[in-house]
Symmetry: C2
Subunit: 149 residues, 2 copies
DNA sequence: ACAAAACTAGTGTATATACATATATTGTCA
DNA sequence: TGACAATATATGTATATACACTAGTTTTGT
C-alpha cells in the first residue's frame, strides 16, 4: 500500500521526510510480521537473533559482549535476553575460566534443534519480500547499505 | 557500512534473507538516530508521531481510535502515549459529547509550539538520508511501498 | 423495546529497549 | 606493589509494545 494511504496523510514536505517516515512505517510492518512468524516457536525475533549468533560460534561459546556486538539492534540488554533463553533451556551459561568477568554462553542441542525447525520454515518469513523481483531486492539491499553510510 | 561488516556475518543464504536482516538492522539504526534527535525535546519519536497526527486534525479534536489508525507503529497503547503527553501538557483530553465512549484529544498551544520548534530542526533529522541523492531516495521510497504490498 | 453484538477506551501482564549505575575482575603504570 | 583506570556483566528505572481482557456505551436485529 502506498504510504500516503496507509497513514492517511495527503502529502509530505520533501522526499527526505517521506523516506524517514516510510522507513519507520515499513520497519513497524516488518517487525509485526516477524513477531507473528516467531510466535509459534515461543520466542521473540530478538531471542532468535541471539540464538543465530550462538550457532555461528558453535561449538565455541560466545561472551555476552560478542553477542551484543553482533546483535541487529544494539542495546544494553543482551544479559536479559540470555536469561530468558536460559529459562527456556535453549542456551547454557557458565563462568569463563580465562576471564572471570566474562560468561561463556553456548547454544544447547535443544536450541540447535529449534533453529533447524525455524530454518525449515524460513522461506515463509523471507516470502514477505516476494512482491519484489530479484533485481529490485538487490537494489533495495544496496540502497539500505548506502543510506547508513 | 556494508551489512556483512556491521553484524560480522560472512554471507547470507539468499538475497531475501539478506533483505529481511538488512531492514531490521536499518530500522534499529534509524530508530536510535531518531530517539537521539527527539531527546532534546523531552519526547519520544512515538509521542512526536501522535502530536503530528493531532496537528493534522487541528483545530478539530481526534479520537483515540483515529490516532491509533494513523500511527506508524500500529498498536494498542495509544491510550498510554496520550496519557504521557497529557502529563506534559502537550495535549488535552475531554469526553466526547456525541459519543460518550469516545474521547476528544486536542493538541494544546504548548504542543503546537513544540512542533514548530521541532520543524525548525527537522532538516537535521532528514539529513540522515543525505548519503542518497534525490533519485535514489525516490527509488528507495518506491521499493519500500512495493515491498509492503 | 430490548437483548445481543459491536464498538471505544483503558488496564494488567510480559517482553524489549535506552540509559545510568553497580559490582566484580583485570590491566596499567608510577 | 598498590592505586587507579578499564572492562564485563548485571540491575534499576522509565518508556514502548503485543496481547488479552474489562467496563461502559452505542448499534443492531427481531
Amino acid at each position: 500500500m502506498k504510504l500516503e494511504d496507509a497513514i492517511k496523510q495527503i502529502a509530505f514536505k520533501s522526499e527526505e521526510e517521506r523516506l524517514v517516515i516510510n522507513l519507520v512505517y515499513t520497519s513497524g510492518w516488518l517487525s509485526s510480521e516477524q513477531n507473528r512468524f516467531f510466535k509459534r516457536f515461543h520466542i521473540s525475533s530478538q531471542q532468535y537473533n541471539v540464538l543465530r549468533i550462538l550457532r555461528g560460534q558453535y561449538p565455541n561459546p560466545a561472551s555476552v559482549g560478542l553477542i551484543q556486538e553482533r546483535m541487529l539492534d544494539k542495546m544494553s540488554n543482551a544479559s536479559r535476553l540470555i536469561e530468558k533463553l536460559k529459562q527456556k533451556k535453549l542456551i547454557k551459561r557458565s563462568e569463563c575460566s580465562k576471564d572471570r568477568r566474562q560468561v561463556d554462553v553456548l547454544v544447547t542441542q535443544e536450541g540447535l534443534l529449534l533453529l533447524e525447525e525455524i530454518d525449515k520454515l524460513s522461506n515463509e518469513m523471507n516470502g514477505i519480500c516476494d512482491t519484489l523481483n530479484l533485481k529490485e531486492k538487490k537494489i533495495l539491499n544496496e540502497l539500505l547499505d548506502k543510506l547508513r553510510n
